[in-house]
């Protein structure tokens, strides 16, 4: 639930149900969670799948410190990071990923994979993801492949000169 809330902070989406606490619901359409962020994080290929419990624990520790430092009350029914309002989740993630934060590399990594779940569906074959209506690839308008699963774009060019080349261009087509 904690890591879902983190992924939702990176690419927010709409709640899966009215009582969804992890997904803050600040954006229409599926976000990183619906795109499969947890499935991707749990994939051994990422190299961080064995450390996810530690990630959640550390994120909640940071969330608790963040809340205490600002006098924010936290709902004990959910983990501290989940209990934070979306704006505070965002502020905390900004802090954790800022260039001078001592834990920056850890959180950037988690953010990279959360993002990749949305914009590449890296835990799925791309053709399968598109066929299943993957929310990230669909939101981007990522065009699908041909029948053989490969991409080709026979219509790719305006097919006409659109600028004057540099006057000093050499015969090889290079700068002088």
């Amino acid at each position: 639930m904690t890591l879902e809330a983190f992924a939702d902070t990176i690419v927010p989406g709409e709640k899966r149900s009215p009582d969804d606490r992890a997904v803050a619901g600040v954006s229409a359409g599926g976000g990183a969670v619906a795109a499969g962020a947890i499935e991707l994080l749990e994939t051994p290929a990422t190299g961080i799948s064995a450390a996810l419990d530690d990630y959640a624990e550390a994120l909640n520790r940071n969330a608790r410190e963040y809340a205490e430092g600002r006098g924010l009350p936290l709902d004990d029914a959910v983990p501290p990071f989940v209990a934070l309002p979306f704006e505070d989740r965002t502020a905390l993630v900004q802090e954790l990923t800022s260039p001078r934060h001592r834990e920056k590399e850890l959180w950037v990594l988690l953010a990279l994979f959360s993002n990749m779940a949305f914009d590449t569906a890296a835990h799925l074959h791309t053709t399968d993801a598109i066929a299943a209506g993957h929310p990230g690839l669909a939101a981007m308008g990522f065009l699908g492949p041909g029948e053989d699963g490969l991409w080709r774009f026979p219509d790719f060019s305006y097919g006409r000169p659109l600028a004057e080349p540099h006057p000093d261009t050499t015969a090889s087509g290079s700068p002088a």
């Binding site: 990176i10 290929a45 569906a121 890296a122 990230g136 060019s157 659109l162 000093d168 090889s172």
Partner: protein, 550 residues
């Protein structure tokens, strides 16, 4: 007990520097062994797939350092398999550049004129052709039209792409499924194999030690799925070693070798250049593109074609003007990066919250098909330094493939920052003019600056204090070790460097052949291009006496 094998010439890496040396030395009769740390994939293996574990993650590396991240090839064929095949020659002024102390950076012996016949050799071998406006993709066309609208010029870029085979699928970073991209898998490497060279994939070189007649190369064998796991190790003795592991790895191997090999030149692992690279993402207003530039795709939209294409096809060279000050000379090139790394660092123009993640970023990503990416290559100040080498390889691997943490440190100088700022302003001038698009550079706050063209970590030059290699690309103080990859290029080129790396490697080969002959290897120089063409060979003939000391 480890068995020690032997060869005449051991080559580390199979990218441009390694493959070119491998071909010529094998063709000349030497026993050549190439160790490549990545896997050996061919066209049918190059997936159109973002799934972790597909060719996308198997064949390139993303190494995050302190202030700089490097993107490079990790497979047989090296950078040529993952590159975007833009192959311009470096402008003349690049070779005349001087350092802050007024010292010439390039060796006195090398200029654009000197390199021209070597450029020709590579152009014949791959081959490289001049694209025309019918090859220019929608993205390149839009950039060209925007340049013209802003009163600037724009050129179709020469490229190593077989235009008859290219499908404009834009999966080039996963390797070319259609063999349209003229990677080294199609020319130098098969020709090297035909002459008896041996290529061993998944062999990661760790260090060199000295033997009586040459060097011993120590390697580990990498698991073909999880590159963090080693499946064995070994060593090979060679009379000549050619390091071509890439500018992110060659200095690391030498640093790790220093305790046993002896002191390295001071410049090993210093003066790293990211080729001054910088990326901007523009979000194009489709209506304005139609109204201002008169662009239209059939009956469809004006643009919405970010996904369609084949890497950079159009560049603007107006600021490659020798009379401009250093750091104000740069090229701008239209470029496509696939989602993933091509989206995370893009920033939201006028963001009120975080610019690279969050609610506003998601809205930006929804417009992804209207994105246009512009790549800057400016002159930087060679600010990069490599820290102590990691235990193995050139990085501590985080993921099974692709992602690692490396020892590079980079803090851009005021000059570099000024160059980036000037080029960012030029991109805005071109693309925000009359409301055509909204533009923001990629953030450096997440993984530092980034380069797809790491250079100069073990560079050539005339001054032993500031160059690790002499002008024949031999390592100072360690005769018989040559470096032929991007680490030898002494400074940023203001254009894509693959052709210059290759031309320098071609130029270094006669000297390597001579060094091998001096050590008793029965090898000659003079092979034609891998396809049998001989014009390039004739072109360089006049320079051979100077390069071989004959």
């Amino acid at each position: 007990m480890t068995t020690t094998e032997s060869t005449d010439v051991l080559i580390v890496g199979s990218g441009f520097g390694g493959a070119i040396a491998a071909y010529h030395l094998a063709a000349g009769g030497a026993k050549v062994t190439v160790l490549e740390r990545g896997p050996w994939l061919k066209a049918a293996d190059f997936d159109h797939d973002f799934l972790l574990g597909s060719s996308y993650t198997r064949i390139f590396d993303f190494v995050v350092g302190d202030g700089m991240s490097l993107l490079g090839g990790n497979c047989v064929g090296g950078g040529s398999v993952v590159y975007f095949a833009a192959m311009p020659r470096a402008p003349r002024f690049v070779f005349d550049r001087v350092s802050a102390t007024g010292q010439r950076i390039w060796p006195e012996s090398i200029s654009r004129d000197v390199l021209e016949p070597w450029y020709d050799r590579v152009a014949e071998a791959l081959p490289i052709t001049q694209q025309d406006w019918n090859d220019v993709t929608f993205a390149g066309g839009l950039f060209a039209a925007a340049c013209a609208h802003a009163g600037r010029t724009a050129n179709p870029v020469p490229a190593a792409v077989d235009r008859t085979k290219c499908t404009n699928c834009n999966w080039m970073m996963s390797g070319c499924r259609f063999d349209a991209k003229r990677s080294l898998l199609l020319n130098y490497l098969p020709a090297a194999l035909a002459h008896g060279a041996e290529i061993r994939p998944l062999h990661e070189v760790q260090k060199l030690t000295r033997t009586e007649g040459g060097y011993r190369v120590h390697y580990k064998v990498v698991d073909d799925v999880d590159y963090r796991v080693y499946a064995g190790e070994g060593e090979i003795d060679a009379k000549i070693v050619v390091l071509a592991a890439g500018a992110g790895a060659t200095p690391v191997i030498l640093q790790r070798s220093e305790p046993e090999l002896g002191p390295m030149p001071r410049a090993v692992g210093r003066y790293f250049s990211g080729n001054g690279e910088r990326l901007n993402t523009a979000v194009v207003d489709e209506d304005r593109a139609r109204e201002l530039l008169g662009l239209k795709r059939g009956d469809g939209p004006a643009f919405r074609a970010n996904q369609i294409g084949k890497g950079p096809v159009v560049a603007s060279w107006d600021t490659l003007d020798a009379s401009r000050p250093t750091h104000s000379r740069y090229s701008l090139e239209q470029l496509y990066f696939p989602p993933g790394f091509g989206t995370i660092l893009a920033q939201v123009p006028d963001a009120t919250g975080p610019s690279w993640f969050g609610k506003e970023k998601k809205e930006l990503v929804r417009q992804w098909q209207s994105w246009l990416t512009v790549f800057t290559m400016v002159e930087d100040d060679n600010e990069g330094v490599f820290g102590p080498p990691p235990p193995t390889g050139n990085a501590v691997r985080i993921s099974q493939q692709m992602l690692g943490r490396g020892p590079i440190r980079y803090e851009p100088s005021a000059n570099t920052l000024r160059g980036w700022a000037e080029s960012d302003a030029a991109v805005r001038d071109i693309l925000e003019r009359d409301g055509l698009a909204r533009v923001m550079p990629w953030t450096n706050d997440v993984v530092g600056a980034y380069t797809v063209h790491p250079l100069a970590s073990c560079r050539i030059g005339d001054d032993p204090q500031t160059s690790a290699l002499d002008d024949g690309q031999e390592l100072r103080g360690h005769p018989g070790i040559f470096v032929t990859d991007g680490s030898a290029v002494p400074a940023a080129l203001t254009v894509n460097p693959a052709l210059t790396i290759s031309a320098l490697a071609e130029r270094a080969v006669p000297g390597i052949v001579k060094a091998a002959r001096d050590r008793g290897v029965n090898v000659s120089y003079g092979a034609p291009a891998p396809g049998g063409e001989t014009a390039g060979r004739r072109g360089v003939q006049a320079q051979l006496p100077g390069l071989t000391g004959l």
